[in-house]
């Protein structure tokens, strides 16, 4: 057969979460893969091909799901992909150690009228546990070819491909001319007496039945699946069938005394139990597993939270301590690149654009890449090992009180480091509403870039209690995020509480290949974004702080020089030059679009006690929050390269009579709450779309303003109590 060129096959790779689907996908496709998104949603879609004996097997990775009930976005994506794109075959990846529940999904695939091949994955683990599966008998009983595989070791791959080839070849023999599987689950006499008539009336409309498998739809109608009724609308006898289905549902519920969808699930499990009894045997008595031994400690009622905090601290420490080195190298590199461009490109717009706009902007974004790599390596490690469910177990009770989910905890804590990877990490949340809430409150967890602002202000105005002041702001941020989550869940994201039903997989050794794969995916997505949206934003910020160009008049330079010399005796030329440079930069910023905006919006910030300088700094802060510090450096004419430790900048801020300790405290709160930097905003857009980005922006701005105004006015009223600290 191998000499004939066969048509390529499109194969959907589906299965339960934790069944080892990703490692099997990697073993099947090797390096030939690409990652995209399913249309309209942020569910990742991996595709890859394998060539064997003149045939191309094109695999599409379908999200891991437990059932085709379509309660989660993953289930909707999987169902729609299979129904609407009609792959040639489905490979269902089954966890051999947990066959009953895994077969539950497999049987639903079989009903779809598309050939199914079962990959009995993790068969080595099952063997070690003393679970003996009679593969041939199981295949025979279910009418689904089964192949033993071990995805992590790449074994059983060729047998699986051969089996796919054979199953497609047999399709005509198995399915005849319609898509009715010759062999599929029987629901027992009573249910069948209701399924079969429905199936017959659905099949009567041949073009419709060619689109939607009649038996599957009949069962789904009895399960009261809303989407099934929507699809039924295309049938020429939709009204009649709907009535008949509703009547059948009523009959089943009366007959069994419970809901029809539950009865169907019970029948499926009954059928599976029958099949498993004949073919799966436990040859060894299960002993206390290693997983259980570990969980006795890790999931201990009192230790669980403590261990979770330790793990978190470790992830945090490793990411930001280890990441600081390559981050520093990248900053040096981009600094060098800027210098190189500086010396090559003549002075003017182009140089300024390239050095300050493009290289400065993209450089600051790329310097996050090491953090993202380390962070996602550690997170993938925890996920692959199976710790994430344990973390959810430890924290769910507390977070649930605020309308959050146990799985929100990692993304939120990561927000203390950097919002960008934190927002991306929220993908682990399965419910869309939980994901939106989590993403919207992540920016309130003060990120690392906000710290320099706090250090500067606390150091300048609360020198005695600077450390406590910074801690206080962090704590306020965490409290705001919890309250905001609660408010959002009670208002715009109201709805039934998402059930917390989460599999607790056994601990499993991760594979390096799998980990690197995850890391590469996440990192490449971030880099793609940095190359486009963030670069555009960096250039925009550069433009509004540069244009229109303004030159300090010679007369002013002269008078500034004289007054500076008068105030500071014994200054050298260098000090004067640096003073003048800062003055020029300040004047040009003051006259730029950003400065104009700052002055224009100053009245809006009056109730918060902010003058135009603070307004400008918050505008430039959208590039990155630490830019606020360097903006102050320029505006207070201290220097163009000031940092938060600079005593001269602290002195300059204190010398400004406008800038009271109360204003400083309000500004810290304001920086904490207002929308995050462009990088984070564009990540929100990528994850949730423009609508939610707009909502987040307005929500945070409004909250920041209200909080700032309230604190400032109360502070004024109580006679500057804060100043007394």
């Amino acid at each position: 057969m191998s000499d004939i060129k066969k048509s390529p096959l499109r194969v959907a790779l589906a299965g339960n979460p934790n069944a080892g689907k990703t490692s099997l996908f990697n073993a099947l496709t090797g390096a030939h893969h690409k990652v995209g998104n399913y249309p309209g949603v942020t569910v990742e879609k991996r595709e890859g091909s394998r060539f064997l004996d003149g045939r191309e097997y094109h695999f599409v990775d379908v999200p891991g799901i437990y059932s085709l009930t379509a309660y989660s976005i993953d289930e909707v994506v999987a169902r729609d992909f299979i129904l609407d794109e009609k792959p040639d075959l489905i490979v269902d990846v089954l966890d051999s150690t947990n066959l009953e529940r895994n077969l539950f999904l497999c049987l639903q695939f079989q009903e779809l009228g598309i050939p199914v091949v079962g990959a009995l994955n993790m068969s080595d683990e099952a063997a070690a546990k003393g679970i003996k599966i009679d593969v041939e008998a199981l295949s025979g009983v279910l009418g689904i070819p089964m192949v033993k595989t071990v995805g992590t070791k790449g074994s059983g791959i060729i047998a699986l491909l051969d089996s796919i080839d054979a199953a497609v070849g047999d399709q005509q023999a198995t399915y005849g001319n319609n898509s009715r599987p010759a062999h599929s689950i029987r629901y027992g006499q009573e249910i069948e007496s209701r399924v079969e008539p429905l199936e017959a009336v659905i099949a009567a409309d041949a073009p419709f039945a060619a689109r939607f498998p009649a038996r599957w739809l009949a069962v789904k109608l009895l399960e009261k699946d809303v989407n099934a009724y929507e699809r039924l609308a295309f049938h020429k006898n939709a009204a009649g069938i709907t009535a008949q289905a509703k009547e059948s549902v009523a009959w089943i519920e009366k007959h069994y005394g419970k809901d029809a969808e539950i009865v169907i699930s019970e029948q499926r499990y009954g059928y599976i139990r029958g099949a498993a009894n004949e073919t799966v045997t436990q040859v060894k008595k299960p002993t206390v597993s290693l997983t259980e031994a570990i969980d006795r400690v890790v999931m201990n009622r009192f230790l669980a939270l403590l261990i979770f905090l330790l793990v978190l601290w470790g992830v945090f420490k490793l990411t930001f301590a280890l990441g600081a080195y390559p981050q520093g190298w990248l900053e040096v590199f981009f600094g060098w690149l800027g210098g190189a461009v500086n010396s090559v490109v003549p002075e003017g717009f182009l140089r300024s654009l390239l050095v300050k706009g493009v290289i400065g902007g993209v450089g600051s974004v790329f310097s996050f890449v090491p953090l993202i790599i380390i962070l996602f390596f550690l997170l993938s490690l925890l996920e692959d090992v199976g710790y994430m469910s344990r973390a959810a177990f430890a924290t769910d009770k507390f977070l649930h009180a605020f309308g959050l989910h146990g799985q929100s905890v990692f993304p939120m804590i990561l927000g203390f480091g950097c919002s960008v990877p934190a927002i991306m990490a929220a993908r682990t949340l399965k419910s869309r509403r939980d994901r939106i809430v989590t993403i919207l409150v992540i920016p309130f967890m003060s990120c690392g870039a906000k710290l320099p602002v706090y250090v500067l202000l606390a150091g300048a105005f609360f020198a005695k209690n600077a450390g406590n002041m910074v801690m206080l702001v962090y704590a306020i941020g965490a409290v705001i995020s919890l309250i905001a989550a609660l408010v959002l869940k009670k208002t715009v994201l109201r709805g039934d509480p998402t059930p917390f039903v989460m599999e607790l997989p056994p601990y499993r050794a991760p594979t390096l290949g799998g980990l690197l794969w995850h890391v590469w995916e996440k990192t490449s997505q971030y880099i793609k974004k940095a190359g486009t949206v963030i670069m555009a934003a960096a250039i925009l910020i550069w433009a509004i702080t540069t244009f229109p160009l303004y030159e300090l008049p010679q007369s002013q330079i002269a008078s500034l020089t004289t007054s500076y010399k008068a105030k500071n005796a014994n200054v050298d030329q260098k000090a004067i030059a640096s003073y003048l440079e800062t003055a020029k930069a300040g004047a040009s910023l003051e006259h730029s679009v950003a400065g104009t905006i700052g002055k224009f919006i100053e009245p809006v910030f009056r109730p918060l006690g902010f003058d135009w300088k603070i307004s400008v700094a918050t505008v430039t802060g959208f590039a990155a929050k630490e830019v606020i510090v360097s903006t102050f450096g320029i505006l207070y004419r201290v220097g163009t390269e000031e940092n938060e430790q600079s005593t001269s900048l602290r002195d300059a801020l204190r010398a400004d009579s406008q800038f009271t300790p109360l204003v400083a405290f309000v500004l810290m709160l304001f920086v904490l709450v207002i929308p995050p930097c462009f990088a984070a905003l564009s990540t929100i857009k990528a994850e949730l779309g423009w609508g939610w980005l707009g909502f987040a922006f307005v929500f945070m701005l409004a909250l920041g303003w209200c909080l700032g105004a309230a604190v400032y006015q109360i502070g004024l009223f109580t006679g500057g109590a804060v100043a007394a600290i």
Binding site: E261, A304, D396, F500, L504
Partner: protein
């Protein structure tokens, strides 16, 4: 009797889920169907959520969900 009544270590047999919207069907799909055998393994701080063994695998559910799963005891709960 429901799952949330069972102490840690207690074995049970499922009678059925008191279905209510999404969660009932979801629990049934995860294996909580009539006749299935399971056990409560442990519960978290403040006794929530629960780790439950069902059909040979482990699952985490909140006490509020466990309230919807009707069971009969298997074995002697007092000795567990």
């Amino acid at each position: 009797m429901v799952v949330s009544d069972a102490p840690a270590g207690a074995n049970f047999r499922v009678i059925g889920v008191k279905t209510c919207k999404e969660v009932g069907k979801r629990l049934a799909d995860m294996g909580f169907t009539e006749g299935a055998e399971g056990a409560v393994v442990r519960s978290g701080f403040l006794r929530d959520p629960l780790q439950v063994k069902i059909r040979g695998y482990d699952i985490l559910i909140r006490r509020s969900e466990a309230d919807d799963i009707e069971i009969t005891p298997v074995g002697d709960w007092n000795t567990t």
